[in-house]
Symmetry: C2
Subunit: 124 residues, 2 copies
């Protein structure tokens, strides 16, 4: 039992992920997670830190995601009682919600191909 | 009417694509198309030409895809009445079939998010 458990730890679980294409930009799970953390943490630097990436990288990813949309996904508020901070717009929150809900639909359709991949994948 | 058609040609249609993760490799539409052409054309060089990529690039992509699987996706047959050539194994054909059928399931779940992306995407 212990040996089996170790073995399955080593073998990576197959997965299925969805990517959105919008106005020449691609949006996958990484960018969505980053946007969500931005909304929760309230600053790009805090979100970047949480994702283990540089501020520059986070800024680049958020900026590229933004290029796909007509309206802003987030706004930077300067001043005020919380000394500024970044908040998601309703559009940004909507993007996260819609991506997650679409991923749930995809997951619900993926059991068969996942089981097949488990049965044929290379074992290290 | 003509003007509208031109406009919609310029504006990219939003899309949804699926990527499979298997034993540290990723498999998306590009690799699946390449594998299918390999099966149809019977040689890596012909498949590469059809996809507008170098032989080296096609070989790299096929090789990386193969690394995800225990058994071969295609075999090179030397000699015989057709002077050799590459054919897909049942596993290779199965991968294509399963990827396409999973993509159809995903497409069937994507109308809502696609309509939303059309309504919010940046127009050049």
């Amino acid at each position: 039992m212990t040996v089996e458990k170790k073995k399955s730890d080593l073998a990576k679980e197959p997965g299925v992920r969805t990517k959105l294409f919008i106005a020449d930009e691609t949006i996958g799970l990484g960018k969505i997670d980053l946007l969500e953390r931005l909304g929760e943490a309230g600053s790009i630097s805090a979100a970047a830190r949480q994702m283990g990436m540089s501020y520059k990288r986070a800024w680049f990813l958020l900026n590229s995601m933004q290029s796909g949309f007509r309206e802003p996904l987030f706004v930077v508020k300067r001043g005020g009682s919380h000394r500024g901070g970044t908040t998601l717009t309703p559009l940004g929150a909507d993007l996260i919600r819609r991506y997650r809900s679409h991923s749930d639909l995809v997951d619900a359709q993926s059991n068969e191909i996942l089981a097949w991949m488990r049965s044929v994948q290379f074992e290290r």
